[in-house]
Symmetry: C2
Subunit: 119 residues, 2 copies
DNA sequence: CACTATACTGTGTGACACAATGCATATAAA
DNA sequence: TTTATATGCATTGTGTCACACAGTATAGTG
């Protein structure tokens, strides 16, 4: 049985992950590189999570991919499509709306904290 | 087959929902009331989503409940516990960190938009 | 009678975590 | 030099969990 806290983190990441990936892929990158990038950004992600996500986003035509076999190891490069750019903008808007909603809700609680004090 | 956009909204809501609920329950409320509140806040939630969520949060001892049978229809009131208050604070911090990560990623893309321009 | 208020349950789907597999290269140890 | 270990890179499979949606149920209200 997972801890309450971990479960929340997982659920939260789950939504943010696609957004993060599609933001990163403004420039062409390959999967393994993305994992490193995101982990450095503090966004933990497993291979078994990212690779299927990439394929899913490609299936939705938000990304395209190409194989690079010239180098030492074959790499699959992904990059955002025009449709992806459009969708990304609407996702960012959705995200922003959610942030505002939570900020609003948080401003009504007693022990105001993280969101409003910081920044 | 759901639209790409809807799928994202669902995933995003999924994480935010518990946070929103636990913020709302600073004051005692019953389920149906919470649904109305959240829908007014622009956070769509189905009964089949909220009621199980409430029970789950209660199972994790972040909420407690009591039945109010005096009124016309029986209502189950929920309110946050001390543990819930603690956890809520850490969830808010997690949420804030994720926001920062996305903002960071967004600031590197070409068509900067929603998050940084607004507010 | 239809509608609202209030709560619950059940089924399908989708995505994640985790773990394992596979293979190639680079590095370290023997 | 041969062997062993680690790293780069991607895939697949299993279990779990939470949501959406659609029901069920009951008691009031218009």
């Amino acid at each position: 049985m997972k801890q309450v806290f971990e479960k929340f983190e997982i659920e939260m990441r789950r939504g943010v992950m696609q957004l993060a990936v599609i933001c990163l892929l403004d420039n062409e990158k390959y999967g393994y590189e993305i994992i490193k990038n995101l982990n450095e950004s503090g966004l933990k992600v497993e291979e078994g999570t990212l690779y299927p996500l990439l394929r899913r986003l490609e299936g939705d035509e938000l990304l395209t991919s190409r194989w690079e076999t010239g180098g030492p190891r074959p790499r699959k490069y992904y990059v955002i499509t025009d449709l992806g750019i459009e969708i990304r903008m609407s996702w960012l808007n959705t995200f922003k709306t959610l942030i505002d909603t939570v900020k609003q809700l948080e401003s009504n609680i007693q022990d105001k904290g993280a969101l409003n004090n910081a920044q």
